[in-house]
Amino acid sequence: MSNDRDASESALRIARLEARVAALEEALVRRSRELRELQRHLPSRELLNLSRLAGGLPPVPTGRYDLEVWRETTALTSASVEETLRDLWQSLTPEPFAAR
């Protein structure tokens, strides 16, 4: 009886572990797909900041005459004053960073 019970518990444990591995594999596939999408669509600076945030670091502060942020263009970009200024002020001195 005892051996039967042990075998049954082992089988159950293996089944649980296999299910967990399958779930993790699925999550990994999903995350890889997300990262590929981010890499395809985000500019390098935003990718850098994303990595820093994921790693528990604050985003790279922008400010002063931060020419490196510019893309030299003659095209005009539509923008909202409120969003632009909030972003500008925040970029000068990032909010205190709370790592999760």
Binding site: Y65, T74, L76, T77, V81, T84, L88, L92
Partner: protein, 628 residues
């Protein structure tokens, strides 16, 4: 629940007001409306809910609410008859306030403010409020209707609410009757809403009837109510469409002649308006102001293929009024036409009476511009600076000064601001990168005068449309100090014009160090917003900049105007004094109260003297003098 700036409590108690809330079903809306309404200050006011034949729980639930009176109508009579039933049931001595049941009241003193606006002049008969959508966008700051289309439009509609149109009393052509304070004397004279309309146009009709009887309609900008725009209607979209068209036909029949008769002058305006240029922006404003001043103005694009600016103009102005003006028919040889643009397109003027309206940033005008101007009956320029330039260049035709202006509904000190939360003092400049604007001087002197450890920053809104110009290299070549004053750039960002006032209000001082200006609109707009300004003491803007309202920047003299622009060849412009710029920036930074006082004075002066209404009035005076 908020109160805006306080009202003076003095004076006799107000006359009784009856607040009519018209409801048909949608108890959820009515309940919310009443809950917020009853939480406001309703001094000497009665709330009368007109239950317009509701078939849901509305009758039973209304009976449970104390502090209101209910008028139960057995069937839905529609907006007009429903409200008229309410007016008939109200205290016959009381003023009337019509209210939709999808309003939300977040301002305790709304009624006191509407009353104050109504009593500010015995001629005011109808008072409306600003209406805002729940998402924060402005919905209504009054209405206008053009005789061409007979389709009423709401002023300011769907703009982000940044505090535009907040004047306590502003005359308008009409208001929507979602919220309408109507004086008892007016009702006694002209009665209730016209039965010609079941729905739509009844509010505009009422305001026009009031005007015909000698009353005015205003919007009280101190009151903002949330309008959820659900409406209580039993009609499907198709029948609503038919109802609208029927009402529109009725309205045209009733008011078409009257509205068309408002125009005292006809004018063809040949210019540019659908490109991001200074002429285009000011053209749009002048057209609106001329329409308001009774000029039936039609617009045509003056540039295009075969001219100095070949692109065709996009047809849509994204502005209803301007699109209508563009679509107006014009005879091939209209009586009078104004070409507003560079003088080298004056030759396109189609009028029998020809006016050319132009400006330039240097101390004279090119020979071909003068030749073209000689063929005009009259030449207009915005400033004495340009009048003198034309005279010096040999123009012998009459020259009139027609200054440009600002719209103080969008540029005033009370706008929303998004200031730097880090406490730095912020200098601000806005310019297209080029020789004339002297960006190098501004950046160098600021960076040199201040240190990075001082709580001060320069923000530059920079535009570059020249593919041959490498801005990064230009700025790097200035060799700005890392330890110097800190500078931020807003590069090639295009903000809606109506939001620019908020941009200025978010800064502490405006700087314009340009070598020459034909008007300097950003400077004037910033000053209208109450910003202290440092500006080169040379060029057209000396019309409105002086020692008392700003900080004129000394010039060392004039120098040859060397630039890519071919129109400047052979002329001169200013050489701003770097040492004085340094001194003025430090002066403003260290004497902020003085600077703020100058800015406040500038805002008052510009509101009093330099609006688009003033511009349009001067134009109308010239049209009269020319017999146009």
């Amino acid at each position: 629940m908020t109160d805006s700036a306080s009202l003076s409590p003095s004076g006799p108690p107000p006359r009784k007001a009856t607040l009519l809330v018209l409801a048909w079903n949608r108890w959820d809306l009515t309940e919310r409306c009443l809950a917020t309404l009853l939480a406001t200050n309703l001094d000497n006011a009665e709330v009368l809910v007109i239950d317009n034949g509701s078939t849901d729980e509305t009758p039973e639930r209304l009976a449970e609410i104390s502090g209101i009176r209910v008028l139960r109508l057995e069937k839905n009579l529609g907006f007009v008859r429903g409200n008229n039933a309410g007016i008939a049931a109200a205290d016959p001595e009381s003023d009337i306030v019509l209210l939709n049941n999808d309003l939300i009241f977040g301002q305790r003193d709304w009624l006191a403010r509407l009353r104050a606006a109504a009593s500010s002049s015995p001629k005011i008969g109808v008072v409306g409020a600003r209406l805002r959508l729940p998402d924060g966008r402005l919905l209504h700051a009054g209405t206008y209707i053009l005789c061409d289309t007979m389709w009423g439009q709401q002023i300011g509609s769907l703009e982000q609410d940044l505090g535009q149109y907040t004047a306590e009393v502003r005359e308008v052509e009409g208001i929507v009757f979602a919220c309408a304070f109507i004086k008892r004397e007016l009702i006694a004279q002209i009665g209730g809403l016209a039965l010609d309309f079941e729905s739509y146009f009844e509010d505009t009709d009422y305001c026009l009837r009031a005007r015909a009887a000698g009353w005015t309609t205003v919007v009280c900008g101190g009151v903002t109510l949330i309008h959820d725009e659900h409406g209580s209607t039993q009609n499907d979209p198709d029948s609503l469409g038919r109802l609208f068209q029927t009402s529109r036909a009725t309205f045209r029949e009733k008011w078409g002649e009257e509205l068309a008769g408002r125009y005292g002058h006809r004018l063809l305006w040949q210019s540019i308006m659908n490109f991001p240029t200074g002429y285009a922006m000011s053209c749009r404003e002048i057209l609106r102001a001329l329409d308001a001043q009774g000029v039936e103005v039609a617009y045509r694009y003056v540039y295009g293929p075969g001219t100095v600016f070949p692109p065709s103009e996009p047809e849509n102005s994204e502005d209803y009024r301007l699109n209508v003006l563009r679509a107006r028919k014009v005879p091939w040889r209209p009586k009078a036409a104004v070409v507003y643009g560079q003088a080298d397109v004056f030759g396109s003027n189609r009028g029998r009476i020809k006016v050319g309206y132009t400006m330039l940033e240097v101390d004279g005008f090119p020979r071909d511009w003068v030749r073209a101007a000689q063929k005009m009956d009259e030449v207009w320029v915005p400033s004495e600076f340009n009048r003198q330039g034309f005279l010096d260049s040999g123009l012998t035709r009459p020259i009139e000064i027609i200054p440009l202006g600002v719209d103080t509904n969008y540029f005033h000190p009370g706008l929303s601001a998004f200031p730097n939360p880090h406490g730095e003092f912020v200098f601000f400049s806005a310019f297209e990168w080029g020789e004339r604007k002297e960006p190098g001087l501004l950046l160098k002197i600021f960076n040199d005068e201040f240190g990075c450890d001082e709580p001060v920053r320069l923000v530059c809104k920079v535009i570059n449309r020249d593919p041959g110009l490498k801005l990064k290299e230009e700025i790097r070549s200035l060799r700005l100090r890392d330890a110097g004053g800190r500078i931020s750039f807003l590069f090639n960002q295009e903000f809606p014009h109506y939001q620019l006032g908020s941009l200025y209000r978010s800064m502490d001082c405006f700087i314009s160090v340009s070598r020459g200006e034909g008007w300097n609109m950003p400077l004037m707009e910033a000053m209208a917003c109450g910003l202290p300004a440092i500006a080169t003491d040379w060029g057209a803007h000396r019309e409105f900049v002086h020692e008392t309202n700003a900080y004129p920047l000394r010039v060392r003299g004039t120098i040859p105007a060397v630039a890519k622009c071919p129109y400047y060849a052979g002329f001169r412009w200013a050489d701003p004094d770097p040492d004085h710029l340094r001194h003025l920036m430090r002066q403003v930074f260290e004497h902020r109260d003085e600077a703020r006082a100058k800015g406040a004075l500038a805002a008052r002066e510009i509101a009093d003297r330099w609006t688009w209404r003033h511009t349009a009035q001067k134009i109308v005076a010239r049209l009269k003098a020319l017999g146009a």
